[in-house]
């Protein structure tokens, strides 16, 4: 898994946005809004982590989430971002 190149993560108050740079608009137009969990997942993929590794990271970060729930969230968000072409295999 890897992130589409030339995309930038921007913090907007309590939210996050993934925005293409000028070069990135050749491959993707528009913006994607992420909450904090989405941001963590985005950064995890950017670091080269697999889905289960990202889920473990979330469990360590957020005490009130179990591994199954975290993995479910990761899979769901990764699937959505893959459909948009922002995460590549």
């Amino acid at each position: 898994m890897k992130l589409l190149e030339e995309m930038m993560l921007v913090k907007v108050a309590d939210e996050y946005m993934v925005v293409p740079t000028a070069r990135g608009t050749e491959n993707f137009s528009g913006v994607v809004r992420l909450n904090v969990t989405g941001k963590d997942i985005w950064e995890g993929v950017g670091q080269g982590l697999g889905q289960e590794q990202i889920a473990e990271m979330l469990v360590n970060k957020y005490e009130d989430v179990d591994f199954e729930t975290a993995l479910g969230n990761v899979k769901r968000i990764v699937e959505t971002l893959k459909k948009e072409g922002l995460i590549l295999d």
């Binding site: 930038m8 921007v10 913090k11 907007v12 108050a13 309590d14 939210e15 946005m17 925005v19 293409p20 740079t21 000028a22 070069r23 608009t25 528009g30 913006v31 809004r33």
Partner: protein, 451 residues
């Protein structure tokens, strides 16, 4: 309640509809300016560009869900300024990269025939651009503006016309440079237009004619510091004239006749504030109806951005608003359209499509820095990229920015002497006043279009 202006497309894309959270307390966004009109109250969102009319005593709170979605109402604990910064950062990232340099501020000289006491260039070296350097600048502009191919032929690509801004010193003190540059560009069939910042003393009838014809001069900004005696004393021209004030006013009339738009800049401090009101009265019969002439007010302040001359900020704002009202009554107000766009650049300094060409053929990023902040020269493609990027660094909000309705319009560059301190209260009040006038005009336009 009526929508007068919808949010802009970039704002719609970037902000989106705000989610409504049940059982959450909401308050009005701090980025809203209100203005009264004959039909009620106008509310304008300075980040999204949306404007609504509230009549019959209605408020956004009466349409809670609708105005939560469009961000006129925000959660109690919402950080308005941080949100605006994030949106503008995203907008900036989305901005198309400049492929060409199309905007040039050219200092034909750093010398000047006036000795204004407030000039920030006082004490600097007086350097004239030579004829050879002018020609080299013209060739440089032709190379980088994108209108010619590498072989020097006109490109089929759609490119903006070159925008030239003549600056100085006093740019007309070395007008030959302007002739050389514009003549070369015309020869190469490069589309260009220009504007000038000048004291106007040398903008006589022949020069105005030539400026319109050969320099493609669209507008000139000319400073008037007061009535005759105040003006002549302030300018302290080094050449002896009987009445430079009269010469400049005549030159303004000539330039208007040639179809050049004139911005009369009224530089104000506490000493000439009342005199400027008289100056507007004196100029009105001469300039009214003679062409496209507009007056603008500039608060004189030390280059560090602090107003020293007025006892209080409120006193400064009061005098400035009085002058703005006088200008409006006289019919010389700028009639600026309501600016609804997301502000992602401040000026030439953080705009990759703009450069300052200095008399020695050096290249800078800010017209106020003629001896430092050099990023390269017209002879070499090497650029100081680190220095260029340093100009884009912005400051975090000042404590005074908390709750400021015009914060989304501010873009404080860390290196800019005008913005590195928090703006004085008077400047904020003037900005809001101008915005309110623009809102009222936008509403009148809406009404006219609807009828």
């Amino acid at each position: 309640m009526k929508e007068i202006l919808a949010e802009t497309s970039p704002a719609k894309m970037l902000c989106g509809a705000q989610k409504i959270i049940q059982d959450k307390s909401y308050r009005r966004s701090s980025h809203i300016v209100s203005a009264q009109c004959e039909d009620g109250t106008l509310l304008f969102h300075t980040l999204t560009g949306a404007m609504y009319l509230f009549d019959n005593g209605e408020t956004p709170e009466d349409h809670r869900d609708y105005f939560i979605k469009n961000r006129f109402l925000v959660p109690e604990d919402f950080d308005d300024n941080a949100y605006a910064d994030g949106i503008r950062t995203a907008a900036r990232v989305l901005q198309p990269k400049h492929r060409h340099i199309t905007s040039f501020t050219i200092l034909t000289t750093t010398d000047c025939n006036a000795r204004c006491f407030y000039c920030y260039e006082m004490g600097r070296k007086r350097v004239n651009m030579s004829a050879q350097t002018a020609l080299d600048c013209a060739k440089y502009i032709a190379r980088v503006c994108g209108q010619l191919t590498d072989k020097g032929e006109k490109t089929t690509e759609t490119v903006s016309p070159v925008k030239l801004s003549w600056f100085g010193g006093e740019p007309l003190y070395n007008a030959e440079v302007i002739d050389i540059i514009t003549s070369y560009l015309a020869q190469k069939d490069i589309a260009f237009e220009s504007i000038i910042t000048t004291n106007g003393l040398y903008l006589d009838a022949d020069t105005a004619k030539k400026a319109r014809r050969d320099w493609h001069l669209k507008s000139a900004q000319i400073t008037i510091d007061g009535t005759k005696d105040v003006y002549n004393r302030t300018k302290a021209y080094i050449d002896k004239y009987d009445d430079p004030h009269e010469i400049v006013l005549t030159n303004i009339e000539n330039a208007l006749k040639e179809g050049i738009r004139i911005f009369v800049r009224l530089n104000m401090d506490s000493k000439n504030a009342d005199d400027l009101i008289r100056a507007v009265d004196n100029m009105t019969p001469r300039l009214k109806g003679k062409g496209d002439c507009r007056f603008l007010v500039a608060m004189l302040r030390e280059f560090k951005g602090k107003i020293n001359e007025f006892d209080t900020e409120e006193a400064a704002a009061e005098k400035c608003v009085a002058l703005l009202k006088k200008i409006e009554e006289a019919g010389f107000d700028r009639e600026l359209k309501l600016d609804r766009e997301l502000h992602v650049n401040r000026c030439m300094a953080d705009n990759d499509g703009a450069q300052v060409l200095l008399p020695e053929g050096l290249i800078g990023k800010c017209e106020h820095f003629s001896e430092t902040e050099i990023i390269g020269d017209i002879y070499s493609p090497e650029r100081d990229v680190k220095l260029i990027e340093s100009w884009k660094k912005t400051l975090p909000p000042f404590s005074e920015c908390e709750g400021c309705p015009v914060y989304p319009r501010c873009y404080n560059l860390a290196k800019c002497d005008w913005t590195k301190d928090a703006c004085p209260q008077s400047v904020k009040l003037i900005r809001i006043y101008n915005l309110q006038r623009q809102m009222q005009r936008a509403y009148n336009d809406y009404k006219s279009a609807s009828n």
